[in-house]
Symmetry: C3
Subunit: 203 residues, 3 copies
């Protein structure tokens, strides 16, 4: 099993947990929770596959993805009472998913020989789209438009990946550096309420 496959599995798993948690917070019925878990988990990768024309999309060719989501779903349900700090768990799993999906998006963009700026766009879209669908379906303001730096962390991570790749670092170092940067930027952004500078005058 390659490092890519391990990160792939962990990303799908983390987003499935994050989707289940948001849906349970909204007190959806068991099927609704599963739909949200599924949409959050595969949403970004499905958009990526549609845009580059890699159909049938990834989860149709590999049933492991479905069983992985089902497992994450039951774990989220089973441990829901232990998850006293639901918001913290949710934030953690969402951030991990964000980091791992950015790596997968960048990797797939590279293997398709797209221009670097397109690769960063694909990576950012595939990392953040799952969370956006989740929030739209749950009727929350999409996480991407809330104050803290979110998609910006993916952009920074994807650029880091491309630079290290260009400098011929090996895969393990690239993957670990990229995910560390994304997770760190996101954690610090939320902790210290970082946000992008605004160009509106104070009212």
């Amino acid at each position: 099993m390659t490092l890519f496959q391990i990160f792939d599995i962990l990303g799908i798993f983390a987003f499935a947990i994050s989707g289940s948690l948001v849906a349970m917070r909204k007190r959806m019925d068991p099927f609704g929770v599963f739909i949200i878990a599924f949409a959050t988990s595969v949403g970004g990768g499905t958009l990526r596959d549609l845009l580059i024309g890699a159909q049938p999309v990834f989860w149709m060719k590999n049933t492991d993805v479905i069983f992985l989501i089902i497992t994450a779903y039951f774990i989220a349900i089973f441990f829901r009472k232990k998850l006293k700090y639901l918001n913290k768990s949710l934030f953690l799993f969402d951030t991990i998913g964000l980091g791992l999906y950015t790596i997968m998006g960048t990797e797939i963009g590279l293997s398709n020989n797209f221009h670097p700026i397109i690769i960063v766009a694909i990576a950012t879209m595939s990392a953040s789209f799952g969370g956006v669908i989740r929030d739209i379906l749950c009727n929350e303001i999409p996480v991407i438009f809330r104050k803290e730096i979110y998609a910006t962390a993916c952009v920074l991570g994807s650029i880091t990946f491309l630079i290290l790749h260009h400098l011929d670092f090996n895969e393990t170092i690239i993957y670990i550096s990229t995910s560390s940067i994304i997770i760190t930027v996101r954690l610090l952004a939320v902790k210290f309420h970082w946000s992008l500078p605004t160009f509106y005058s104070k009212i």
Copy 2:
């Protein structure tokens, strides 16, 4: 004309009626009503074709679909005053569409040799997606997240289809059994307020 084609036509027709009725209840203008009828009718099949990579999507290759939707649209407008029991008519057409689209989705999944669990997922998504888009565009809570069993009926129907298919029953029996199960489950669910058991403690 095969039974598949007849069910296909009826499914498109039923969803076009259901879309027109929801849009008229929202008092949209004639063009808005047509857009909603179109999106409800072709939405599920378009998603299905995009995900499996069958492009151009079905309604681009077959103009009959467009004329069928136009016909349904005018029928809905013409009979709108007879439709005193608008909610009941809407529910009926939506349920018929749900049953027929599940059959088509399962059939197409089978002919692409997907794994059974993927086939059930495709059938359920293509059957319920039209109604979800309709409700999002009309600013209603998507039907799939309301209390009564909805997508669950598609899952049961699609599994029934696959079992009967595996047991070598003929197409007519499979189609009629599948649609009967979906329509019956949905009717009973609404009549008796069935819903899935919940795992939240009472507040």
Copy 3:
């Protein structure tokens, strides 16, 4: 550079400006404004490419599109204080984008040999979809469902294009006539509060 390419560039540019303006009116942060500019600008063409199966979608094959959007974004930000009449500017750029995208959609539909009714549908969807995504992401009622004639202008423009094309007029005449009709219909519709006749009785 062909007339088609010039119109293509202008359409992308106009929609990127219109997206930036709506996002700034919502006081989004700089990255949010860019996402909205991007989604508005490429949304319609991306949907078109997905439906007809022309992947990777257009902006992945041509990085000029990205740099064009970035330029439009900075122009919108830079001139935001001069844009006292933000609503008027927004309306103008949205209308120009609508006209140009209708032409591109019709042209691409023709080159794929679709049936005329399908071509009109593709042109209308690709012209109006960018504005619809923009409005959904910004939590406004989609422009297509507001009172004034919107998608109807695209339908009229696309039909005009097809008739002139059938009568063998040259490209320049077709492009200028089509965009003039769309822009004029839309301007007059807003000025005189034109809307489609309704079939609901007064309440």
